[in-house]
């Protein structure tokens, strides 16, 4: 409940859409790929060092990790196709002989498939999130505030939790 409240707080706050979108995008990479992969350490470093919205990242991680279970067969197929492609064999062979890439476990079909997929959609997803957040703030927020459902929500415990959270995530 607190996480949902935080998200609403973030979405409706002055936090820049780019920072929220970036949080979702990093969550996309960390959530869709196997969690205990070397590249996720880099993602963690970037999430913490860059001013990325942490609530968006955590919520995204939760959502995309769940989604990964459904998409794993697709990632496996994609990864296997890439890893067994004759034209890429030289590249994979040289990477296979590197300790760093072996630690990354790039030669696993799901690691390869999910990583390639998440990196490929990273930028489009960032732009889409930005667009949706801006539109939400411009058009939907005012309308939502007036709806009966929102009125009921404002009277709920969730809203009180949301109210109690202040100054969360992103730059102040």
């Amino acid at each position: 409940m607190r996480t949902i409240a935080k998200l609403l707080r973030v979405l409706n706050s002055e936090t820049e859409p780019g920072q929220i979108s970036l949080g979702f995008c990093f969550a996309l990479v960390a959530g869709l790929t196997p969690l205990w992969s070397l590249h996720n350490l880099v993602v963690l470093l970037l999430v913490l060092v860059l001013r990325v919205n942490l609530s968006a990242f955590l919520l995204g991680l939760f959502v995309f990790s769940g989604l990964a279970y459904i998409l794993d067969p697709l990632f496996h197929q994609l990864g296997l196709t890439l890893l067994t492609a004759g034209s890429l064999e030289g590249l994979w062979t040289s990477m296979y002989n590197s300790t760093l890439w072996r630690l990354e476990r790039f030669n696993n079909s799901i690691v390869m498939g999910s990583l390639v997929f998440s990196l490929a959609v990273f930028v489009p997803f960032y732009l889409l999130c930005n667009l949706l957040i801006r539109r939400y703030r411009a058009h939907v927020l005012a309308w939502v505030q007036k709806t009966r459902l929102m009125q009921m929500f404002k009277a709920s415990k969730l809203y009180h939790a949301y109210q109690s959270i202040s100054g969360f995530g992103g730059p102040a």
Binding site: L44, L45, E89, N97, T99, L103, N108, I110
Partner: protein
Amino acid sequence: MKKWIRWGGLAVFVLVVGLLLVFWFLFIDGIVERVIEDQGTQLVGAKVELDAADLSLIPAGLTLTGLQVTSPEEPMTNAVEIARMAMSLDGFNLLRRKVIVEELTAEGVRLGTPRDTSGAIKERVKDGEDESAGGRGISFTMPSFEIPDPKQILANEELETLKLINELKADVEGARETWDQRLKELPGKESFDKYEVRIEKLKGATKGGVAGALGGISEVESIKDDVQKDIAALKNAKVNFEEKLGTLKTRLDRVKKAPQADLRRLQEKYSLSPQGLANLSETLLGQVIGDWAQQGTAWYDRLKPVLDRAGQAGAKRGGPEVVKPLRAGGVDVRFREKDPLPDFLIRRTTVSLQLDAGDIAGNIENITPDQHILGKPLTFTFSGEKLKDLRSVSLRGVMNHVDPARPSDRVNLQAVGYRIQDFKISKQESWPVTVTKGLADLKVRAGVQGEALTANIRSNLNSLSISAGKQDESNRLTRALSSAISGVRDLDVEADVFGTLGDYDVRIRSGLDKVLQQAAGRLVKDLSAGLQKDLSAAISDKVDGPLKDLTQNFGGLQAINGDLAKRLTQGNDVLAGLLKQSVAPKALPKELPKELPGGFKLPF
């Protein structure tokens, strides 16, 4: 730029990584312990337990203490118990996800130690059921030394003779019914009498001038045709009948010989033939050697996955190779390495085996499931001297799976001065045999090439003391055999095991057969002859009546044959009479007119 950078985050990152490392240091030993127990249990099919695991990073190494591997067949016994096992690991290759153990030292290795609690796992019960259902291995059944009652034998056995008699009787009756019916349809006395009447009538009709004469010729030809047709039908029927009769007679001959075949079969089953006695040493020792072979092949089957991953993965050299990992999702794809190394390798293992008899030391080199990558076979050497009940023992072997398509495994075992005590050769109630004491030298050479198994076992047994039979034995034969085998002091035994891992046979040669034959051969012959005589009489009692009935039934068929012959004779007589006393020449005038009345011309 500052707007996008959160330097405090770096500190948090360091903290998170630090926490992960602390977690690793605190819990990795427990995790390793759990992984070894779980994976080991899965592999062995019975509980694998570990007291403690200690993983060190610098230098990379792992020490396991108190490892217990339950015997899957005996859940209250540990197949192996190892007090301490220390491994030095190749740290660099560990980063590349390759477990390369440079040296493994196993101390305090003991076999067959008792357990406090059962080491069975639920899944194993099902596996065990399957294995027993498979019934691999061989069994040797001791021949019965009892002389059975022939009447009792016949009460329990179905005689092939009676079965054949009943079948033939039914067929004979069926044939008789069929031919009785057919005889009714075939021309008989009545038909031939009618021809006689027609001939007589024709004789009267020849007095009618030329027209009468011509009509007579036509009628004669008609009767001749009819008689010839009837004779042909009878001849055809007779040929068919004789064929059928011939078949039935052949079967009758077989039935008459069937009692002898029944006698032979029952005698082989119920009596100890001199040939059976000749193979008695194989029966006695074969079970022991067969059990050893079965245990050996069972352990070999268990070790095979450790030796043979290449065959399972369908590896191809050169190009990428897809390997299914044991756990986790997806598949790992392997590529050619500059310096190829297997994923798992123990270069050298030093083992100190603590047996009740004393200590045996040895080493194993190149343990890996990927010999085709390493290019070296697994080798092992164990030896021990001045043991409690054994002067010396040595075990050497090579398990070569470098070429996965042509695996070749060899093992040589040599034991000198093994002291035998109360070793049960035969546990069968009819004739128990135990070597109470003795000394044995043993040489075993065994090999597996692909699925083909060969083994040669040579043993010299000396200073023997053998007890056999029961105290109050009344059976003359077992008394004679027991007396003979108890007197054996020295014995050479050679055994060959051959076949495939799933289906093998044991052949044994020893001086024991000669001893047993000399002692009991005459007795066995007499007993066997007695049983043959009694059994023959009992079979005759049971078979003679039905056989007599069957022979009588054949008499009915002979009567049909006689009837057919009689009809054929009658038909031939009618035809001969017709030809001999042909009415046509007498009826016709000596010279026929050129033209018939009415201007018709004769065709001749």
